[in-house]
Amino acid sequence: MLLLKHRTIAPAVAGFILLLLSACSTTQLGEVGKLAKAGQANSATLATYYSTSATKLPAVLEIEVLRSTLQPGINRPSPEMIEAIEKFQVSLRHRAQLSSDLATLYDALFELSTTDYAGGFQAASKDFYGSIGSFAEAIGQSSPITAAQTQLLDSLAGKLITEAQKRRAEKANRIVLTQLELLQPLLARDRAAVTAFRRQAARLVEEGGIALWSAGLVSAKPLLSRYGGVTGLEMVSNEASFTSANPKLTATVPALISFRMGQIQHAEDRQYAALEGLVDDLIRRHREIAEGAPVDIAALLEKAAELRALRAEFEAAVKP
């Protein structure tokens, strides 16, 4: 039964072991180090993204409470809704932990490929396996790797200490590759949920903003100032009296809120699209190294720069 459950994973691990036995000699030691450096930066960005996303979830409940006060017919969050959101928050935190452990693993891979010290890699590799298992459990999936397989790979990672540096880096590269290949289907499976969550969380913020505006509890001054500020104009101090006296303007504010939220959502979509392909990119580069093919490290470094730029774009979009 256990074998059947893991039948799709077993060939990947078996293939990995065969690859280890025939580790090629063409790997460039420096390339492993460069890949580790880029992988560390990208994984850390991913960890930040997921931990930030997890902190947004309580806002969904707060908005629902707010709307239940301001909009007729809307009920406060039910225990079922609260339970589901807490459960999803746990899975996002696991994603963040997984990404953070991957960044630590890349740190150890960098250290292993640039110094004589290989001790950190075994511990980081073991922690990353643990994170994969915990993440699988959090999203209701069976762990993609059995305890026996974990033990075998752990033992292989432990033996790296006695290897010569170049061979050690080659083998460590393959261990990371195997781990990412095991993780990839789990991430793909959970992607639809993360995307739907992001979309609905943004929509609910918009609904909450419109409800506050319709109830007359907020001023449109910061929103309108954005347009005035660009043209070098300053908002009049008694803007509220003009807005409320102008029904057309009053009716336009919800559309402006929707437009602004659409812009924020677009910036976040671009950021997420770049992030969700990260693991696929890393797998491609590890395979290139394993096969002795030329590695396009520059593309990964560009990716890190792109992620920083998209993060800045998103932060600019949400700035009041």
């Binding site: 809307i74 809704m81 999803f88 209701g140 959970d190 609905q200 929509r203 609904e207």
Partner: protein
């Protein structure tokens, strides 16, 4: 497939919630308002349950339920645009919410 299940469940919730004021205003009696409220709660809770559950697509019943939900969502889109008959609209809303809940239950097996 899982993505398609979730997309239809999300659509039901979004259709009801983004058109909430219009739907609420069209409910004339307390009973109609109660039905509507209950349907919104159902659509909302089902969506968040679907997000937190790893939906699977292990049997044909899941596909059939998803197809029926897609039809109900399409019908509901038209009914909300026209908003001619509350009775017809609430009937379709209730049908869609029931199918969405069934899809989460079936997909979770």
């Amino acid at each position: 497939m899982t993505e398609q299940n979730l997309a239809q469940i999300e659509k039901t919730y979004e259709l009801i919630d983004t058109n909430w004021s219009q739907l609420w205003d069209s409910a004339a009696t307390d009973e109609e308002k109660r039905q509507l409220q209950s349907a919104r709660d159902g659509a909302r809770d089902t969506f968040w349950r679907a997000i937190a559950t790893s939906l699977k697509d292990n049997h044909s019943l899941v596909g059939d339920t998803r197809a029926a939900l897609a039809d109900a969502n399409e019908e509901l889109t038209g009914l909300i645009e026209e908003m001619e008959s509350f009775a017809k609209t609430i009937k379709t809303i209730t049908k869609a919410v029931t199918l969405a809940a069934a899809l989460v239950t079936l997909g979770g097996i």
